[in-house]
C-alpha cells in the first residue's frame, strides 16, 4: 500500500504543489519567527556582555515606583576615595529623543523611528562602552558627539555646527566634536547615539550636581564584596542600591529580550493564523481529490483492500505531503528570516550581525506543526474514503459519503456557541496576562471559525444565488453558470470561503475597533476640550515649562497651562498624578465637576479626583489623601473637587506647587492654550509659528488637527496589522485557486460539452473566474459578519473612554468585500485559462 501512496503523489504532482504551498507559507513564518528571535537574542546577548563587561559595580537610585530622584554628584568623589577602586564615573542619560540635532537640511531626525539617545561622555571606554572614531570628546557647553553611523546617515560632520533641540529649547550652533563607536561594531539598531559633557547633560536634561548612576571598575586585586560593603557605608540607607556586573548583564539581556520577544511573538501569531487557514485548504484539497478517486478506491476495495488500508493510504499521503511541505517551509523560513533582517536594515535599523540559528527546537516544531496540520486536516476525508464500498468501483458518479448535512450544521452551531461563550467569558473576566487573554480569544475565534465553516454550507447556496444574481443578469449564460457552479457544491464553497473568511474577519475586526476608537475620540474632543491649541511634545521627553510661560507672557491667551506627569502613592495605591495650573484648567478642559469646585492655583495642597478613584479611595470632597512621591516626600492633599469626565485626564490633578515641593521634574508633556476673547486665530498664527520655531520638537494643533493626527496614527497602526494579516488572505486566495483548479478538472466533461455546443473560450474563462469571485465574496461576507461580531465584543470590552459604541466603517468594509471579489477573479486566472484551453474532444471523452 505504501507503494501506492507514493505513486498517487507522483501522479498528482501539480495538485499537491498548491496544497503544499499553503503549508510552506505557514511553517515558513513560524520558522522565521524563531530563527529571527534566536539570532537576535544571541547577538544582543553578546552586545549586553560587551556593554556591561567593563563595569564591575554600579550604584544607582531605586524606588518602588516612579522615577527615583538622582544621586548626589559628591558621591562619585566619595566613592573614588575608597580603597580598591580603579575608575569611577557618574552618568547622566537623557530620555529618548530629548535631544534632537537639526540636520544640515534644517529638519530633525524623525522621532517616529528608532530613538535618539544622549548620554554624558565618560572617557573610560570600559565604563562608557564608547570609543572615539574621529575628533575629541565633548567637553564644553554646546559641544556634542555622535555615533559614526548616525552621523553618516544624517549628514553630520565633525567640526560642523548644528542646532540642538532640547527640553530647554533650541541650543544654537553646537559643535560636533567627535564621532564615536558603540561596542565593537556600532550595532545601534538604527538609534542615533549622542554624547555631551557631564555638565552639559546636567544642564540640558537633569539638575546640576546630580547624576543618574555611578559606574565603578575595581582595581585588579580588589574584592568586589568588600568594596560593595565599603560603598554601602557611605550611601544613604534607602533609595540607593549597589549592583554587580552579572546583575547588570542579566538586566540588560532581559531588557533586549523583551523587545525581541515582542517581534518574535507577533510574527508567530500571524504565522499561526496562516497555518490555521491552511487547514481549511488542505482539508478541501484532500476532500475534492479523494472525491475524484472514489472509483479507484472502490476498485482497491473490490480487489481486497480493507477500509483500514484505504485510510492508511490517505493518511500516508497526508504525512508525506506534510513532511515535504515542512522541510520546504523550514528552508523558506530561514530565507524569510534573512529577508526580514534585510527589510529592517532597509528601514534604517542597523542590526548586529545576527547568526542564523536553526535550533533543534525550531526544526522539531516546524515538522510537528506542518505534518500535524496536514494530517489533522486529512482525517475527515480519510475516514470518508475508508467508508467507500467496493461497489463504487462499478457505479458511475459514486460520491464520497460524509456526515449528514443536518449533523454537520448542528456540530457547527454547537462549536459557534461554545466559541462565543469562551469569547464572552474571556472578555468579561480577562485573565492576568496578555498571552493568556490572546490564547483564550484565539481558541474562541478558532472554534467559531470551524463552526461557521461547518454550518455555512446552509448559507452557501442562498447567498451565492443572491450575490450571483447581478452576475447572472449581467454576464449572460457564463454568469448564470458561474452562479450555478458556486452553489452546486455548497460544502466546497463553504470551506473554500471559510479560509478567506478568517483573514477578512480579523481585518474587519481591526477596522471596526479602529473606527470605534476614532469616533469616540472625535466625540470626546468635541465635548471635553475648549482649548484652541494643543501643544504636544512628540519626543515624549517633556518640554521645558518656559514654553508655556512664553505663551502666557504674550498676553494673547486667556488661559495657558502645561501638564506635568509623575507617579505617587495615594493611600497605598500607586497612581499617575498630573500637575497643572488650576486657575486656567476650567477654561481649557471641561472636567464635568460633580462635587466641590476647581480651586485657584494658590489653593495650597489640594487634589482633584476622578469619581472612580474617589470611590476606590473612599473619599469625598474635604477629605485628606496622603500622597507619597518617588522622591520620598509625602504631602497630604485635600480633595477639592470630584470630576466625571476622564477624556483627557483621568488621573488625580494637583496644582504645580505640589509637584514643586515634591521635587518632581518641571517639564511639560503637553500644553493647552485658549485664545483671549475676540482674538483672531489668524492674528495669533505668527505667535504660534514663533513658538514652533523655538521648540521644533512640539506639534501645535487645533483640536481638529490634533484629532486628525491621532486618527492618522491609528490608521497607520491598523495598516501594519492588516499588512501582516494579508498573509492569511493570500493563503486563502491560493486556496480558492486550488479549489477552482480541482473543480475544473472534475468538470472536464461538462466543459467539453459546453465548448462543443458553442461556448467560446472567453465565456468559459469568464464562467470560472466569476465562480471564484462569488466564492471569494461569500467568504468575505461571512468574514465581515464575523468581524462585526468580534468587533462588537472587543469594543464592548474596551474601557469606555477608548470606545463606547460600535462604529462600522461601511465604506472601507465594502471596499474590502469588493477587493476580495476582485482578488478571487485574479486567483482564478490560471484555472480559468486551463479551462478555456481544454481540448474539446478529449474533454468530452474524459472519464
Amino acid at each position: 500500500m505504501l507503494k501506492l501512496t507514493f505513486r498517487n503523489l507522483a501522479a498528482n504532482k501539480a495538485r499537491f504543489v498548491m496544497t503544499t504551498f499553503a503549508v510552506v507559507l505557514g511553517v515558513g513564518f513560524v520558522v522565521a519567527s524563531f530563527v529571527l528571535s534566536d539570532g537576535l537574542r544571541s547577538s544582543f546577548g553578546d552586545l549586553s556582555d560587551e556593554i556591561t563587561v567593563g563595569t564591575d559595580l554600579q550604584v544607582r537610585p531605586v524606588s518602588d515606583f516612579g522615577e527615583p530622584p538622582p544621586l548626589d554628584q559628591d558621591l562619585v568623589d566619595r566613592i573614588a576615595s575608597l580603597d580598591g577602586i580603579e575608575v569611577v564615573a557618574g552618568f547622566v542619560s537623557a530620555d529618548d529623543n530629548a535631544m534632537q540635532p537639526v540636520k544640515p537640511d534644517g529638519t530633525t531626525i524623525s522621532s517616529a523611528g528608532p530613538p535618539q539617545l544622549t548620554f554624558s561622555w565618560v572617557a573610560d571606554q570600559g565604563l562608557g562602552s564608547f570609543a572615539l572614531v574621529e575628533g575629541t570628546a565633548p567637553d564644553e557647553p554646546r559641544e556634542f558627539a555622535m555615533d559614526i553611523d548616525g552621523a553618516e546617515a544624517n549628514g553630520f560632520v565633525v567640526g560642523g555646527s548644528y542646532d540642538l533641540v532640547t527640553p530647554i529649547g533650541v541650543v544654537k550652533d553646537a559643535t560636533l566634536t567627535a564621532t564615536t563607536r558603540f561596542g565593537s561594531d556600532n550595532s545601534t539598531l538604527g538609534a542615533v547615539l549622542m554624547h555631551v559633557s557631564l555638565g552639559e547633560a546636567q544642564r540640558l536634561f537633569g539638575s546640576p550636581g546630580t547624576v543618574d548612576e555611578i559606574g565603578i571598575r575595581l582595581a585588579p586585586d580588589a574584592d568586589a564584596t568588600a568594596v560593595a560593603a565599603a560603598i554601602s557605608g557611605i550611601i544613604p540607607d534607602s533609595g540607593v542600591e549597589i549592583v554587580d556586573q552579572a546583575t547588570l548583564n542579566s538586566e540588560q539581556k532581559a531588557d533586549f529580550n523583551q523587545g525581541i520577544n515582542i517581534i518574535g511573538n507577533v510574527l508567530l501569531g500571524f504565522a499561526i493564523v496562516s497555518l490555521f487557514v491552511s487547514i481549511f485548504i488542505i482539508y478541501n484539497t484532500f476532500s475534492i481529490v479523494l472525491g475524484q478517486r472514489v472509483r479507484e478506491m472502490g476498485l482497491l476495495r473490490a480487489l481486497g483492500a480493507d477500509s483500514r488500508q484505504i485510510r492508511r493510504t490517505v493518511l500516508g499521503e497526508a504525512l508525506l505531503v506534510g513532511l515535504f511541505a515542512s522541510l520546504i517551509g523550514l528552508i523558506a523560513g530561514v530565507g524569510i528570516a534573512r529577508g526580514l533582517i534585510a527589510l529592517f536594515e532597509a528601514l534604517g535599523a542597523s542590526l548586529p550581525d545576527a547568526p542564523t540559528i536553526v535550533a533543534l527546537r525550531t526544526v522539531i516544531l516546524a515538522l510537528v506543526l506542518g505534518v500535524g496540520v496536514t494530517v489533522v486536516s486529512s482525517l475527515v476525508p480519510a475516514r470518508a474514503a475508508a467508508g467507500i464500498a467496493p461497489i463504487a468501483a462499478l457505479r458511475d458518479g459514486a460520491r464520497l459519503g460524509s456526515q449528514s448535512s443536518r449533523r454537520r450544521s448542528l456540530t457547527g452551531a454547537a462549536l459557534i456557541g461554545v466559541g462565543l461563550m469562551f469569547g464572552v467569558y474571556g472578555l468579561a473576566n480577562p485573565p492576568g496576562t496578555t498571552l493568556a487573554l490572546v490564547a483564550v480569544l484565539g481558541l474562541a475565534a478558532s472554534l467559531v471559525f470551524v463552526g461557521v465553516s461547518l454550518a455555512s454550507h446552509m448559507l452557501a447556496r442562498p447567498v451565492a444565488r443572491v450575490l450571483g444574481w447581478p452576475i447572472a443578469a449581467g454576464m449572460g449564460t457564463a454568469g448564470r453558470l458561474a452562479r450555478e457552479n458556486a452553489s452546486r457544491n455548497p460544502r466546497r464553497t463553504a470551506t473554500t470561503g471559510a479560509a478567506l473568511m478568517i483573514g477578512l474577519s480579523l481585518v474587519s475586526t481591526v477596522l471596526i475597533i479602529g473606527e470605534s476608537v476614532k469616533s469616540r475620540l472625535g466625540d470626546l474632543l468635541e465635548t471635553s476640550v475648549q482649548a484652541d491649541y494643543l501643544i504636544v511634545d512628540d519626543s515624549e521627553a517633556g518640554v521645558t515649562s518656559d514654553l508655556a510661560a512664553e505663551l502666557a507672557a504674550t498676553g494673547q491667551f486667556s488661559a495657558v497651562t502645561g501638564f506635568r506627569y509623575d507617579e505617587a502613592r495615594l493611600s497605598g495605591t500607586v497612581s499617575e498624578v498630573v500637575a497643572a495650573d488650576l486657575t486656567s484648567l476650567g477654561r481649557l478642559l471641561s472636567l464635568d465637576v460633580r462635587s466641590g469646585a476647581i480651586p485657584s492655583d494658590e489653593a495650597g495642597d489640594v487634589v482633584l479626583l476622578h469619581m472612580d478613584q474617589a470611590d476606590e479611595l473612599g473619599v469625598v470632597v474635604g477629605d485628606v489623601v496622603p500622597a507619597e512621591f518617588a522622591t520620598g516626600t509625602t504631602i497630604d492633599l485635600t480633595v477639592a473637587a470630584i470630576f466625571a469626565d476622564d477624556t483627557v485626564i483621568g488621573s488625580p490633578i494637583v496644582p504645580n506647587a505640589v509637584f514643586d515641593s515634591a521635587g518632581s521634574a518641571d517639564v511639560h508633556q503637553w500644553v493647552a492654550a485658549a485664545l483671549a476673547d475676540g482674538m483672531d486665530p489668524d492674528l495669533a498664527q505668527p505667535l504660534i509659528d514663533q513658538i514652533q520655531q523655538r521648540y521644533p520638537q512640539v506639534s501645535i494643533d487645533s483640536a481638529a488637527e490634533f484629532q486628525a493626527r491621532f486618527e492618522a496614527s491609528i490608521d497607520s497602526a491598523l495598516a501594519v496589522v492588516n499588512a501582516l494579516l494579508a498573509l492569511a488572505v493570500v493563503i486563502a486566495l491560493i486556496g480558492i485557486a486550488n479549489t477552482l483548479a480541482l473543480s475544473v478538472h472534475e468538470r472536464t466533461r461538462e466543459l467539453g460539452l459546453l465548448r462543443a455546443v458553442g461556448m467560446t473560450r472567453r465565456q468559459v474563462r469568464r464562467m470560472v473566474r466569476w465562480e471564484a469571485a462569488l466564492v471569494a465574496m461569500f467568504g468575505a461576507m461571512l468574514g465581515v459578519a464575523l468581524g462585526v461580531v468580534f468587533g462588537w465584543g472587543a469594543v464592548t470590552a474596551l474601557p469606555v473612554n477608548f470606545a463606547d459604541t460600535v462604529t462600522i466603517p461601511i465604506r472601507r468594509i465594502t471596499v474590502l468585500v469588493v477587493v476580495a471579489a476582485g482578488a478571487g477573479l485574479l486567483a482564478a486566472w490560471l484555472p480559468a485559462r486551463r479551462a478555456g484551453r481544454l481540448d474539446v474532444l478529449k474533454a468530452i471523452s474524459h472519464t
Binding site: 449564460t477 453558470l481 455546443v757 467560446t760 465565456q763
Partner: protein, 250 residues
Amino acid sequence: MDSTSITMEATAARAVGATKVYGSGETRVCALDGVTAEFERGRFTAIMGPSGSGKSTLMHCLAGLDTLTEGRVFIGDTDLSTLSERKLTLLRRDKVGFVFQAFNLVPTLTAIENITLPMDLAGRDPDREWLDNVIDTVGLRDRLTHRPSELSGGQQQRVAVSRALASNPEIIFADEPTGNLDSTSGAEVLDFMRHAVDELGQTIVMVTHDPVAAAHADRAVFLVDGRIVDEMADPTAELVLDEMKLLSRR
C-alpha cells in the same frame, strides 16, 4: 444569389478527400483516408462501421470538433478548414446541433435551460414558435424545469436532441445517441429523431454501430479503415446486419 437559394442548397455538409492521420512513423494511424461524402439536407444519414473504422473521427471533423490533416469539410458552403478556433466555436453554436452518447446535459441547468443553452450562449432569444414546436414534438413539456439528475436516461437524450434542434441548425450530429439506453428508451429517441427529419425538416447525421438504430435512417454509409466502402438507401436492421457481417469478414 438570394438567401433562399443558399438555404435550399441540397447538401448540408460534405467532406472532400478528408484525411486524418494521428502520430507519425511507427505509430502512424490513418483514421480517415480520403473520405469524400455528401450529406443531403432534410435527410437522416447513419454512419456505420466497426470500432476503429474512423466513423467518429469523420463526424468530429464534419462538426468542427477536430481538424483534418488533409482535405476539406463544409457545413453548408462554409469551408471549416479556413475558420479560426473562435469562428469554429461560433459555427458550432449557431449552425450545428450535437447529441453525444452520454453526458449531454449541463447538470446545473434545468431541461429547458439546457435546450436553449446554445442560444443563451449567443445571447440570442430563441424563436418561440419553433421552440414550442420542438418541445411539443419531444413531449417533455411537464419536465422542463427538472434538472438532468431528475430525468431518466431516455428523457435526458430526448432533451439533448431538443437542444440540438432548438436553434434550428444547419445540421445535427449524433454520436451513438442510443448507446447508453435500453431498447425501449432508445427507440423513443430514434423515433423522435426520425420525426424531427420528417416533420421539422431537419438534417441528421448519426454515428452508430447498432443496425436497429441505423434502420431509422434514410441512408447508411459504411466505413472501414477510414474509407467509405459501401452505402445503402432505406436500410433495414437485417440488411445492415448482413452488411456488417460481410464487412467484418473482409
